[in-house]
């Protein structure tokens, strides 16, 4: 089993997100990047599949901000067998279409049986990378996956719908899956292990393919959402807030 996990770094939402002077996008110089949390689940799911069914995991990503090495070493420490970074002269805000095209070009040469990636990322304005990879690679795709097992050339996935309903879907390998949650929470990679790996492991490099058509979408303006239906804010300390809540509930006959 040849498993490939596509990883993407996105602006960290732990911090306030600063806008550029024109208000047309984030100020990428002022944000920290972290691995998309759904990609962490994709990686975990990949390692779980490998542990159960054998095979090798290749972790792959576009080195947008020249900080992918740590992500890849961590992936290796968690159980990936091989790491590849796509290098080139990038914009930190490269859209999903562009990244998907670069990723697909490298993944195609790896002849994978299974390609996993996060179901979405908080910044994919022009759509999710997973289905785009499937389209480039001519593979079937299923997303919003919360568990995946492989047997006899078929991936059996749990796909989530609204209302907590889950469908069992079978997909012929090779295929692409968008992971929402791995069957287990992502494991911890001790830093000493990561550092050990950083000293010895090789990260392969691949040149980004010539840029294809971009998303065709012009981002005109980005802003913190206007507080249209802004809540009525209850002032005072905790006790006063509690008293006001009780008033509201009483007024509406809810107590």
């Amino acid at each position: 089993m040849n498993i490939v996990v596509a990883l993407k770094q996105i602006p960290s939402m732990a911090d306030e997100l600063p806008l550029n002077a024109q208000g047309s996008n984030l100020d990428f110089d002022e944000v920290d990047f972290v691995l998309n949390e759904f990609d962490e689940h994709a990686l975990e799911q990949a390692v779980l599949v490998k542990e159960k069914s054998g095979g090798a995991v290749t972790a792959l990503g576009v080195d947008l901000i020249e900080a992918l090495d740590d992500v890849l070493y961590t992936a290796l420490a968690k159980g990936a067998d091989k790491a590849i970074k796509i290098v080139g002269d990038f914009e930190p805000g490269a859209d999903s279409h562009t990244q998907a095209a670069w990723l697909a070009a490298v993944i195609r040469d790896l002849s994978p049986d299974l390609v996993l990636t996060g179901v979405q990322a908080a910044n994919d304005l022009d759509g999710q990378i997973g289905p785009m990879l499937a389209a480039h690679l001519d593979l079937p795709y299923v997303g919003v996956v919360t568990g995946l097992e492989v047997a006899q050339g078929v991936a059996k996935v749990h796909k989530e719908f609204a209302g907590g309903v889950v469908a069992d879907i079978e997909v012929d390998l090779p295929c692409v899956a968008g992971i929402q949650a791995a069957a287990k929470p992502p494991r911890y990679a001790p830093i000493s292990k990561i550092r050990q790996i950083a000293k010895t492991a090789q990260i392969a490099e691949a040149e980004a393919a010539a840029a294809g058509p971009d998303a065709g979408v012009t981002l005109r303006r980005m802003a913190k959402p206007v507080a249209t239906g802004r809540a009525d804010m209850l002032a005072g300390d905790a006790k006063q807030v509690a008293a006001k809540i009780i008033d509201i509930l009483t007024e509406r006959g809810l107590l």
Partner: protein
């Protein structure tokens, strides 16, 4: 290219989902501005009656036993074929488990641009202008595209469903591509396990988020819920962590609730959570972060430590 709008209806467990009507309602408005028609595409099995309930100009209905449940590849291929046949100006899908599979795939396959997380959309001269929620709702992005055909995924609940209800007779169609030999197969549906309380039928919910910090926080919220005659619900991080069973999860991948009271403790208001509770009659949010997006949705809010407020409420009740 036409100026028509192709709306992809969806259904789950034999029922056409509200998002389908919400899209049609908005599509009517846009079609008027574009001078085109609203074409609904529904793929199902035995859904003729429900599929006849759209306020569309045309409703194309493909009936096949294989389409009784969602099948990723069937949807992708049928939609791609109809997009080719109708050359719509705009293709609308839900930002749902189905739309998230299809939209970006279709975009790459057919060379149409795609915009996700859309919660507003309008026609502006020769451009289609959208507003999307990015970064978990922390940013709102306005985009424009002049392409002659565009794909969007719309957030559930962004538009009124009633505007999309009507009585357009269905127009049955034959499968434009063979449905045999697909590489994806539906094999079964699992409903959330019964046994625990059903939060969808409760009048009052106390919902806890990651802000409760752990099982102790949940225990406190449970005590508060009991005092209020309510039941505890949760955001996903709480059920993921196992602090509460999965059956208590509200939101996109959880349950949709419409209680009379939804009291939120330490939930930030991510769009996936809002999706499951925005229709609650009274939403009160306690969150220590004054910038938490939930305050854009709640009716009442307080920038407070949830533990302190919960304890004060318990004392006062």
């Amino acid at each position: 290219m036409s100026n028509d709008i192709l709306v992809i209806a969806e259904h789950l467990d034999g029922r056409i989902a509200d998002i389908s009507f919400e899209m049609v309602g908005k599509a009517r408005e846009l079609a008027a501005a574009l001078g085109g028609q609203v074409i609904v595409l529904a793929l199902g099995s035995g859904l003729q009656a429900q599929a006849g309930g759209f306020a569309s100009h045309t409703t194309l209905y493909l009936d096949d036993p294989l389409l009784a449940h969602y099948n990723p590849q069937a949807y992708q291929q049928v939609i791609a074929a109809l997009a080719a046949a109708h050359s719509p100006r705009l293709i609308m899908l839900g930002y749902t488990s189905i739309g998230m599979d299809v939209a970006a795939w279709l975009s790459v396959k057919t060379g149409r641009p795609c915009i996700a997380y859309v919660n507003d959309i309008a026609v502006e001269q020769d451009a289609i202008v959208t507003r999307s929620q990015l970064y978990g709702g922390k940013m709102s992005a306005e985009s424009a595209t002049r392409a002659d055909s565009l794909i969007v995924t719309l957030m559930a609940g962004a538009f009124a469903a009633d505007a999309g209800r009507g009585a357009t007779p269905i127009q049955p169609i034959a499968a434009p591509v063979p449905l045999a030999g697909l590489r994806t197969r539906f094999t079964g549906l699992l409903k959330p396990e019964a046994g625990d309380v059903d939060i969808t039928t409760q009048e009052k919910l106390v919902a806890v988020g990651r802000g409760v910090g752990g099982e102790d926080g949940v225990a406190l919220a449970t005590e508060l819920a009991e005092a209020l005659g309510a039941v505890v619900a949760a955001s996903r991080p709480v059920t993921d962590a196992g602090w509460l069973p999965k059956t208590r999860q509200v939101g996109k991948s959880g349950l949709t609730v419409r209680p009379k009271l939804y009291l939120m403790l330490g939930i930030s208001g991510a769009p996936e959570h809002l999706e499951g509770m925005k229709d609650a009659e009274l939403i009160i949010a306690i969150n220590s972060d004054e910038n938490a997006p939930i305050f854009n949705v709640a009716h009442y809010g307080a920038t407070q430590d949830l533990f302190e407020v919960a304890e004060a409420l318990l004392e006062a009740l």
